[in-house]
Structure formats: C-alpha cells, structure tokens
Amino acid sequence: MSLPAKLRYGFMKDYGAPWLLSLRDRRRAAMRKPRRANPLFGPPLKCSGRLKEIMTRHYLLARFASGAKPVAWVSSGAPVELLRALDFYTVYPENHGALCGAQRMGPEICAAAEERGYNQDLCSYARIDLGHAFSGRTPAGSLPRPDVLFCSNNICQTVMYWYKELAHLWGAPLVLFDTPFNFGEVSEGDISYMKAQTKEIIPQLEKIAGREFSESRFQKVVDLSQESAGLWGRILETLKTRPAPATIFDAFVHLAPIVSLRGLPVALDYYAILLKELEERAAQGIAAVPGEKKRLMWDNIAIWYKIRDFAELFAARGCNFVAATYTNAWAETIHLLDRSKPWESMARAYSLVILNNNLRHRLRLMTAMAREYGVDGLVIHSARSCKPYSVGQYDIKRLMMDRLGLPSVVIEADITDFRNFSEEQARTRLEAFFEGLGV
C-alpha cells in the first residue's frame, strides 16, 4: 500500500465523494422536470435516493481503492466477514453484472469476452466481468484491479471456473472457500472441513492485506452482517401485508447493500431506514400496486433488463410480486451467524444457502413462502446463465401445482444477456398465465 494512494483515498472518502455526490444531486435537481406519478404504482420509496447515494459512493471510492487498501473481488456467497476484518475494499462482480444488465449493456460487454473466445453459453455475469476486464467497458466508471479473488462455490461451481480465469488474467491469487453441496442434511464432516478452511484462508489473506487478523474486529463484523441480514428479512416480511407496501422489483434493487456491503455499518443503517419506511407504509395501508388483486412469487435471479417493463406489465393487471427465492437468499441463512461461535456459525450460514442446498429443500422453502405470503401464482425465470438455479424448475412448476394448486409460468430468458430473450414468447406465455389467474 502506498501513502499517496492512502491519502487520496482518505480525501475522496471524507471530502471528495460527499462533495461530488452533492454536486451531482444539485445538478440533477436543477435539471429535473417534474415527473408525473405513474398511476400503476403507489408513491415511490423515499429512501431510494439514499440507496443510490450509497451505491454510487461505493463505486466511486472503488476507483481510488487501489494502493490505498487491499482490493478483493468477491463472489456473492463468500464469507466476506473474513475480508472485512482485514479491511479489504470489496468489489462484487455479480453486483456489477446486475448493474450492467439493468442498464442494458449486457450483450455489448459480453461481446468483448466472446471476441476472446468465451462461449456465448457461459454465465453472462462471468462474460460481463471478463468483457469488462478486456475492454474496460462499464457504467461504473472503472473497477480497481484485484489483489485477491475470493470466492465460494456455495452459489455454483461456475463461479470457481470464472474466478480461476480472473486469477489467470490479473495474476492475482485465488482463494476458494469450498462448500460441499448439501445433497441431504449438512454433515458435521462438512462443517469441520469448512471450519478448517477458514483457518487456512486467514494467513493467506493476512499476507495479502499486510495486517493481522483481529478476532474482536471479526466478531464485530459478524454482528453487523447478522443484524443486517435480520433487518433484510424483516424488510421482506413487510410484504406479507395486504396490500404489500413494496414489490419484489423494489427488493431486487434494495438488495445491493446486503450483497455488496454486508458487514459494514452503512448496510445496517440503511436497512434500519428502509424497514421503518416500509413498516409505516404497511401501517398506513400504502400499496405498492394500488388495487392489488393477485400476489405472486418470483423464482430465480432477476431479468435485470426487464425490471421496469415487467413491473409495469404485472402492475397493469393488478398483480404484485410479494416474494422471491432470490431476495430471500440473503435473509435465509446469514442471520445464523453467531459471534459466540463465529467459525461454526459461519460454516453453517454459508453452507445452507439456497443454491448449495438440494431441491427438496427448495420445494419446502417455496411451499412455505407461498403460504406465508399468500401467493396466488408463481413466475419462474429459467435463466440460461444459471444452471444451479434453473435445473429442476420444470419439476418445481409441476410439484407446486400438485401440492398447492399454484398456477405458474416459465419464462425462458437470461439475467443480463437479452439476446436470449424472446419478447414474443414471453408475452404469449404470460397472457396465458394472466388468463389462468383471471386478471
């Protein structure tokens, strides 16, 4: 780490970023034309502005992190608490992929990876990330070069192959937290294996960070993660209210801090504000979709380039998404973190995430969610990028119908690459679905 880089980063953090953000806000306010409220939706969430500010600041500071702090690129399911305790600046390529997807830049950035021989059938988060590395293209300004690549295969095996490519490309070490897949219950042997790995990983990370791991600091981070996940769970639970005070499309966006800033005070503070606002809306009967007629559940990652369109399409029929297996993933297990037995609880929390768990578990979870949230129908996104999320969905569709009589529809699409999305096919399937729901 270099002193000038540290000074530059410190200056940006304390003065530069706040000043730039307020300048940007003033400019935007001056240029903003009064927006007409969209009659399909209730009043927008007030704290969305704060979320934007937090995430913009995160990406802005990332540009100054190289040399000032050790930089880690991290997969969404990796135990980031280890990195936080060592003061790494963390970048989440999946979050960056979602950002590119939402801005409809997926295919153009993927193309840069495809030109280098990466197959179009590979996960598009990975292609975006590699495409960005080759071309520098990103809506986020720029991402700092990683000092370490830290991933866990608790979301997929794919992420390992992807990070291995990054390690080769950047000449940075790859640190893997290997989480055996739970074909049945998680075993004590698996837990011991994961615990043993954390002990092996720490010295590796200490060397890269150039500082010693502090257990007390780690415990504080564990608390922050655990509490943030707890708040995130309560935020999602507000959607059990009828009418729901927000939609899952909101949750897709407000998910960013629990994914990317988990273990930092900013995430906890933000979720406290968001929860308060949602509880107030619920108490006041403010509906995200006025005249909510049908309540739906979403399965799989968002179709990032379609969020706005889908939100409107469904709201126009009086349908609101009130639950999603994807947003639930960050509430489901991270709250299991426990400072009194941090190593064991960390192994369990990260091993039991939905994508590292068998399909029996998934069906049980979805059945419970459908009941608890009063769900009338299920929309299944079969995501070409994501085999671990998608294989099994055709049977889930059948079983949810058999068990709960829950109608559902499968949309064949992709998370960011809209070359794999057929508007016409999706519309046709959705029309039939709406007809079945009677909306």
């Binding site: 990466y118 095996q157 490519e165 074909f183 085999k387 671990p388 049977d395 079983l399």
Partner: protein, 360 residues
C-alpha cells in the same frame, strides 16, 4: 456378448450389484470391494424424449442422456445410482432424481474437494471415501479390509496397463485405429476389473506396428472420445490421437508407475491427488496447460483438437486461455462443440478436415 448380457451374467453368476455412475471421478475400488459393479453413464445411445420435460435445452447432452436412460425404464434393474459432484448440471440432476422423480433407485453422492488443495482438502477427501464405504456397508454389510486393499492394488494395476497402452500409442506402435483404441479403453466403464484387466493384457499382446513418422499426430482434449463419427473421421484422414486430455480417459489415469503406501485408504487418497489436472476439479490454467504441453511433447503432436460437449461450462471456461497458451508456443488448435449422441454435421467435418490439412 452385449453389454446387457454381460451385466446379467454379473448379476446371475457372481451375485453382483449393479450401480449406475454419473461422470466423472469416483473411488471405483470401494464399489468393487462391496461386490458392486459400477456402470458409468456417459453417452447412452438414446434419443432424447422424456428428459426434455425435466431439463432445459441449455443443459449438456451428457446429463440429458443420463436422465433419459433413467426415465426410459431401461435402468430400472440398477441397485443404486452414484452421483459424483462434478459440475452444476450433474449436481442439480442428481438432486432432481433423488428428490423429485421417485425412481425407486437408491441414490448415493460423492463429493470432491476443489483445487487449490490444502491440508483440509486431503482430510476431507479421506472422510468422503470412508463415508461412501460406510453408506454402502449399511446396506450391503461392511467390506472386508483385505478385499479393499486388493481392489486398490487392482485399480493401480489397471492404471499401469492403461498407461502402457497409452505409451505405445504415443509412440505410434499400436496397430489399432482411434475408434478401436477408445472402444477398448472405454470398456472399463462397465467391465468388472478382472475382466477389464484381462482385456487390456490381450490388447497389449496384439501385434505391434512400426512407428509411421509421417503420420499426423494430435492430442484430443475434452470430455469424451465421442461422438464416434469424429473418431472415424480422424481415422479416415489418417490422423493418430497420440494422447488425450479427456475427462473420461486420461484425466482419470494415475501416473505410472503407481505408488503404493499399502494402506488402502492412504493409497486411494494419494491416487486422487496425483491425477492429472482437470477443469471439473478447478485445476489452474497453468497446471492444465503444462499437462497439455507434456502430452504434445511426448506424443510429438502437431496440434490439439478441443472437442467440447455443448454447454459444458467447466471445459468452456478454460478453453480460451488454453488455446492462447498453445498459440503463444506456435501450437495450432481447433475447438469444436459436439453433442455426445449426434452425428457429425457437414460444417464440422469441413472444419476438422481443414485443420488436419493445415497441420499436415
């Protein structure tokens, strides 16, 4: 004897249990010690019908074909299914079979630690071996430790024989076509080890030929030596595959001579960690490239043919860097994608012909 007749004899004459095993890496010696015959399911010759209503079209043909076999009822005689944790597609297909499909065939799973390996990886692998042994023991009774030790030695012996055969092929001394060679090697996917061992010994006894210095030599990399049409095409073009980096073949082959510790568990552990690098185990690009270069050098190959199963993520991720590494060293390569059970398309045939012409 057809494969089906062979399996029937194994059941009737030797009282063996038959397990269907999905790709790729598993401790076959433990199954043998329990008098279980593992029959590997890579590319059953079936048209896809029923599997399509369970799997999306973007899932590889190996998994599609395996599921089709199970759904077709043709595998109903199996006493068990073993799913090694090889990739995302096998992982979810395994869970699909175990959790949703009610096929009434008991399912077993085998996990591998992923590279980069550490001390914990070795301990974990050993624990997995013992867990599989104990799961089988619960159903079929414990295996005799002496039997396990013998089977481990037998596994190593088979590896040694295969290495000898590969060595002859490398030197161009085997008088067999690409098709014959792989047909023989692949019999290990379903033969009892005693029978496979004898088969390999007779194969080694076949008359040798003189090396043909002018023959075009290549290395084949990918998952399987399939489809057959590709091997046939290479035979027709006079191309010899002098070495392979195939998941189903040399990536499961121990380095020769094998090293015995004389404790079957320690031997099995040692064997696993001495296997060649593989995409599914998360081996680094550097390790994989070095392995390929060694094969090229030993077999004096002029190029590498990467034959990837369509939608196979572990292989597809490594491909660009492997090819770039070869390119930097002036070694030409061709990458093609195939579906395991399908005939070769005209376009693909033309690409392979052009590649062979270029390196020839």
């Amino acid at each position: 004897m057809t494969r089906k007749e062979y399996l029937l004899t194994q059941i009737q004459d030797f009282g063996r249990r038959i397990f269907g095993v999905f790709p790729a890496q598993y401790p076959r010696e433990i199954l043998w010690a329990h008098n279980i015959l593992p029959v590997e399911i890579w590319d059953p010759p079936l048209a896809l019908e029923s599997a399509k209503s369970h799997l999306q079209p973007y899932i590889c043909s190996v998994v599609q074909g395996g599921l089709e076999l199970l759904l077709s009822g043709k595998a109903a005689f199996l006493d068990g299914l073993l799913f090694p944790h090889t990739c995302d597609s096998i992982q979810n297909a395994a869970s699909l079979v175990n959790d949703y499909l009610s096929l009434n065939i008991p399912c077993y799973f085998f996990q591998h630690p992923r590279a980069p390996y550490r001390e914990s990886s070795r301990k974990y692998y050993l624990a997995q071996l013992k867990a599989l042994d104990s799961a089988l023991g619960k159903i079929y009774g414990p295996a005799d430790p002496g039997e396990l030790a013998e089977r481990v030695a037998q596994g190593q012996n088979i590896s040694d024989l295969l290495q000898k055969i590969y060595g002859l092929r490398e030197k161009g001394r085997l008088a067999s076509s690409n098709l014959d060679f792989y047909e023989t090697v692949r019999q290990g996917e379903y033969l009892w080890p005693d029978d496979f061992g004898s088969k390999l010994e007779s194969f080694l006894d076949l008359p040798r030929k003189d090396a043909e210095p002018d023959r075009i030599r290549i290395i084949l990399s990918g998952v399987l030596p399939a489809p057959r049409g590709l091997l046939g095409l290479l035979d027709d073009l006079g191309v010899g595959i002098t070495g392979d980096d195939l998941l189903s073949c040399s990536r499961r082959l121990l380095p020769s001579p094998t090293f015995q510790i004389n404790d079957p568990w320690a031997d099995l552990g040692q064997d696993y960690f001495s296997l060649p690098p593989c995409s599914t185990k998360n081996s680094s690009i550097g390790d994989r490239l070095r392995y390929l270069l060694r094969l090229i050098k030993k077999g004096r190959a002029k190029g590498v043919l990467f034959n990837t199963v369509k939608f196979c993520e572990p292989e597809l991720f490594d491909l660009p860097n492997l090819r770039a590494g070869l390119r930097e060293r002036g070694i030409p390569s061709l990458a093609v994608e195939t579906e395991v059970g399908e005939p070769l398309s005209g376009a693909l045939k033309t690409r392979v012909e052009a590649f062979v012409e270029m390196i020839g």
